[in-house]
Symmetry: C2
């Protein structure tokens, strides 16, 4: 469409007929163009390779059924279906695991590793390399340890719930200690053959393959230091206690909006992000999530609060970013579904996709330039008095707080880095589980300047450790780092990105992400992909530039 | 609650707080009382018996996952998920089939059959008898025939859709012929060992175990004759063409009702039927159905028409009747889920449960006595001018028509019996597939007095035959027959039933059905159960009395 007609394009989106046309247009451009098969025909002709792929496809089909079973449990299952549901989930997981750990798969992989047609094809070789990686991990753990971890995790979660509600760390401590012991055993099993020297690296590797604590720390160190300084500057400006000056008016976010209208707007935003709406759902759950359930079937959830529509909006854009990654993986290329080449690289890269859409796009003034006129037209007079600057400032405030999931973009990474330091200490033995509350509270005081009043709002706030998810937290900040680094590269490659966002045109951006990130699946590791796409290893500078820019815009601090 | 306070009870249901209390009360009375295990401890201790039960439980868990996969496909799956969904369904069906046909199960059944502890317990013996029956059926059919039937059925369905829309029987004929040939092969495989002499009996046996065409015909013959006479009398009274007299004013059914209000009322009715609302869902689909998805998880669907609320109401009561059967099966008794004792007997008995609630309860004046005041209060002034008699008459009209699924309670059985006659002819060779339209049209003229204008509204109207569902239709009328026979027995056993329905109190009725029908699972055959409960073999007289009573009430004909 010619660039000199932005106004017309915008108004078009606000009438039903035009919305339908835009949908049809979006549909047309999201229709799957036949994607080239990255694996050569000769490699695909290998009997061992194709049989391994078929076996993994069956395992993945079972996993996809398991994903539906979980999705339904979160969305529509009646209360009394829970017991039977647990039995269904467990059986499907067992059947999938049996396939992934079968002796036959081991034999096939061995054959692939000495098959010339497979080894001379870079994509097939990468696929087999990752299949081997999965196979080793899946077969390394003794079955009784896996069962013990699952059982303890489910018990610990119940104890954690009660301990948190009563803010009683002592109640949780025995389970936490047991979970750390079991997870240490797991890490020791998985650690052999990994490059890193710390046992904790084996846990990081579960979520961010190839990650090492020492490398992550080298990126986190400058980030922590600079971020603490930046936040202190903002705090100085805002003041505290009685001297607090309300520098940012956030009343534009506190208008009542009917959830049905929020839902409709969320779907419009997803469509403009280039999300294929015929291959997805958007439902409501207590905890928003994205499930790349099956090829052609990606499901997002969000939750609506009448009095703060940006919760659901950014929830939807966040999950939508995850969903675009799922839709962009080459699951529809013949032979790839179920194999690593059609799977996501790491939680960090997955999170980079959600953060990029939520923070770099959704919290930009360019986004509000497009969104605000639509909101004003659709949601009526309560929004008439606000302008783009109001929304841009209100959605980019920075203020230290106690709860990670409620934290703003700026302070969020400090919450994450504190958890990373603590996890590392727990698994090196430098921190004893019983000292967790005092260590936690000291770090919050030191790095965020806040006093933790109780463990409920302190070290008992997250469910992750009860589940045994140690090594998971750092991927949140890795996601922010990758997102910022990709975003700077996008600004260079697509200089009109911001202008296009202001017109609601985001297909070019989605296409860039698809070509540079999504389509590769696990062909490259996260750090290889980062260097390949941005030309540089992971670096804290882009995220710091991004956050400094926002602090300057909102608070005028440098 | 004391019987002298019906008004108070009714009004209670109309305030939110009272509705909540009523729900709690209903919940309390539907809470599963610990049910006795019908299988003795010594039989359960048999190693072969318990291993067979465990194997079947795993198969049933897979089937329950398959049921969720199907339910989701009908309700919430995005369009582009269809291809992956077909793969999921096929895999789950295969895995379940493998278990049901495993050599191990055959060995275990053989052991059970000579195990004294099992054989000396009547319930365990019945369970093993039915397991054997399933096993023989599942292992008798060659795998390639099963695959060919599935493939042809799915192709034939597409051809049928097109042929119906173009009213072109010639287009469907080759597929129909192929489907009949394949189904004949299937019937011949299944026929050995069955008592009946006709090959068609093996098809009936698929849906109504033990049924024989000659026995069914002996019940259908008087029904057909008397019903045709009754309908002719009504037609005489009503007249036809220009002489048609509008004897029944149905305008009370043509009031606009918001689907959300219909949905709310449907849920209230289900609650009063004694449906456990914490163990179910009610959603919307094009074709309503009930899925006894898993223990504690029964899902109903219905569809709403703004201008005829009784479509959804009776759809909900019908599926609710099926659902009460599913909730009443002893799936929660330890060791029974997945075994025949926790499974429904036959489609005829299943249908009897839905028809009883829909027709004997829902279309009675007693039901309207309870429902109408609620409707008037909730749905406003459009309903003010109508009384109980208006609704009772309007929901019990009798008029011959072309389409089975739109037929009234009286003429419906003639539609079914015509299909039964034709199916029997097709499999005995007395009717050639190519002659189907002329045979069909002649029977409709003879038995219903209507001229079939085209095949779309004639022999192409139902999807069943395209799927290969021959022998399925008769179960609809068997359901009506069982329902009427049970209903007469209920009137004797629970003389206050009608009075209670008029007060919205239906728990006693549900309990009667649970005790006399639901809890037995497949312990008795359908005909055994009928005799056991009503003291008589299946008979056409109760259904005829039921329909004559309605014709007299609405049209004054004897």
């Amino acid at each position: 469409m010619p660039k000199d007609k932005p106004a017309k394009d915008k108004s078009k989106l606000e009438t039903p007929a035009a919305a339908k046309a835009a949908k049809a247009k979006a549909g047309a451009s999201t229709a799957p163009a036949p994607r080239p098969n990255p694996v050569s025909e000769s490699a695909r002709a290998s009997r061992a390779y194709s049989e391994a792929c078929a076996l993994l496809r069956e395992a993945a089909t079972l996993t996809s059924v398991g994903a539906l079973v979980s999705w339904d449990q979160e969305t529509y299952m009646p209360r009394k279906g829970a017991a039977a549901r647990a039995e269904q989930s467990a059986l499907i997981a067992t059947l999938s695991h049996e396939r992934r750990t079968s002796k036959r798969l081991g034999e096939l992989l061995q054959q692939c590793e000495s098959d010339r047609a497979v080894q001379s094809d870079e994509a097939a070789r990468a696929n087999v390399r990752e299949m081997r990686r999965d196979y080793e991990k899946a077969t390394k753990l003794p079955a009784d340890l896996v069962a013990e971890l699952a059982k303890t995790g489910s018990e610990a979660q119940e104890v954690w719930k009660q301990a948190r509600s009563q803010s009683d760390f002592g109640m949780f401590l025995p389970m936490l200690t047991k979970m750390i012991d079991l997870t240490t055993m797991k890490a020791k099993c998985l650690h052999s053959g990994l490059p890193g020297s710390e046992v904790y690296d084996a846990l990081l590797d579960e979520y961010e393959p190839g990650a090492q604590a020492v490398v992550i720390e080298s990126v986190f160190t400058p980030l922590r230091k600079e971020l603490s300084g930046l936040i202190a500057s903002v705090q100085d400006k805002v003041g505290s206690g009685k001297k607090k000056k309300p520098l940012v008016d956030t009343s534009c976010l506190q208008q009542q909006v009917d959830p049905a209208l929020q839902h409709e707007f969320g779907q419009l935003v997803l469509r403009h992000m280039g999300f294929d709406m015929d291959a997805c759902r958007l439902d409501t759950t207590t905890h928003p999530f994205c499930s790349g359930l099956a090829p052609g079937d990606t499901r997002l959830t969000t939750r609506y609060r009448d009095e703060k529509f940006t919760d659901a909006l950014y929830g939807t854009m966040h999950e939508g970013g995850h969903g675009l990654y799922e839709q962009g993986l080459p699951k529809d290329v013949p032979g790839l579904f179920g194999t690593p080449l059609a799977d996501s690289i790491s939680l960090g890269i997955h999170e980079s996709q959600s953060r990029l859409w939520e923070n770099s796009v959704g919290r930009s003034k360019h986004f509000w330039k497009w969104a605000l006129p639509i909101i004003k037209k659709r949601w009526g007079k309560a929004f008439k008095k606000f302008d783009v600057e109001d929304f841009t400032r209100a959605t980019n405030t920075i203020a230290p707080s106690l709860i990670r999931v409620e934290a703003d973009e700026g302070t969020y990474n400090l919450h994450v880095m504190i958890r990373f330091e603590i996890e590392r200490g727990l698994f090196s033995g430098n921190i004893k589980p019983k000292d967790l509350p005092s260590v936690w509270n000291a770090k919050y005081k030191e790095q965020l300047g806040v006093d933790v009043p109780d463990d409920r709002r302190g070290c008992l706030q997250d469910v992750h450790w009860a589940f045994g998810l140690f090594g998971y937290f750092p991927t949140y900040t890795l996601g922010n780092l990758y997102a910022a680094q990709l975003w700077e590269k996008i600004q260079t490659d697509l200089p009109d990105t911001n202008k296009n966002i202001a017109k609601g045109e985001m297909l070019e951006l989605r296409e860039w992400l698809r070509v540079h990130v999504h389509q590769h699946g696990r062909r490259y590791s996260a750090s290889e992909l980062c260097e390949r796409v941005t030309g540089k290893p992971l670096d804290s500078a882009p995220l710091l530039r991004h956050l400094r820019g926002k602090a300057k815009m909102v608070y005028g601090v440098e």
